[in-house]
Symmetry: C2
Subunit: 154 residues, 2 copies
DNA sequence: TATTGTTATACTCTATAACTATA
DNA sequence: TATAGTTATAGAGTATAACAATA
């Protein structure tokens, strides 16, 4: 008889939808500002592609593994590696154990670029989070964990 | 003698950095899943470009205004409008008051596509947020507002 | 036959510089 | 001369399909 689901919940859900939307927009603007400012040597896509290489030096990884970890198609990874290799940030060598495969590894310059990019990102986030009070930070960490679960379950 | 700034705060900040990072990754994966699934008629960039037109029908807006509101360069907007016009989603007409200007407006199809995209996004977010308890939703809305302020002040 | 990587091709999104038409 | 828009050109990031080499 009652007209379906609790309206109280919907109000809270929609408040959250609005807050989430504002948050996404602010995050986007902030990122745009930051990328315009520093103009680092690596784009986000390139950093995502190279990140797994930090954890498997110096052997390197196959191109297909790299593509899969970055969530892109193999030909895309080939092209990106071409560019990064020309710039001296990665090396390509044949896998001695499998003549089909290629092993991609970071050069010292590539590792520097990647670590520098990470440090900048971390510094920006820390600076931002320092604007919150300690108890707000604790609450934010809890809430973000819950939202992460919600994303994964949706 | 004590080695500088309060370590307690740093721990909380770094917990938040970790939680934030996981959240960003989950959001990215979720978006990728959703865009792969529905394969709607409008990309995010196109929706961002057209969004302001919903609020100024039926007159339309100049190309430069549209580009500025979407945060892109004018030639980029020209190209995007070319494609959307070919698909019958927008119209271009000369401004009767200024022979240099064009006025871009949504067609009925364009408006439908835009509203449908918005509805899908809203439905997805609502479904996700329904996974939280009401008190978690309230806490999340508060936290996201604070983070939005932090983004804007950084 | 299956797998690894590459090439060929194409589309979207983005930019800067140079141009046209109008004010 | 200044402004609105377009064209020309370039480059990153993405995909699928077709191919070569190797297992």
């Amino acid at each position: 008889m009652a007209p379906a689901a609790a309206p109280t919940n919907d109000v809270h859900t929609d408040d959250l939808v609005v807050a989430f939307d504002a948050f996404v927009k602010a995050a986007k603007r902030s990122r745009a500002r930051a990328e315009g400012a520093d103009g680092g040597t690596l784009t986000s896509s390139q950093a995502d592609l190279l990140a797994p290489l930090l954890e498997c030096e110096p052997a390197g990884l196959g191109l297909r593994a790299l593509a899969r970890l970055a969530g892109i198609a193999a030909p895309t990874a080939t092209r990106m590696v071409d560019g990064l290799q020309e710039r001296g940030l990665v090396t390509r060598r044949r896998d001695p154990d499998d003549g089909r495969a290629v092993l991609i590894a970071l050069t010292a310059d590539g590792e520097d670029a990647l670590r520098e990019r990470r440090a900048q990102l971390l510094a920006r986030r820390r600076a931002m989070f320092e604007l919150l009070t300690p108890s707000e930070r604790r609450a934010a960490a809890r809430v973000l964990s819950r939202l992460t679960s919600a994303f994964e379950g949706s």
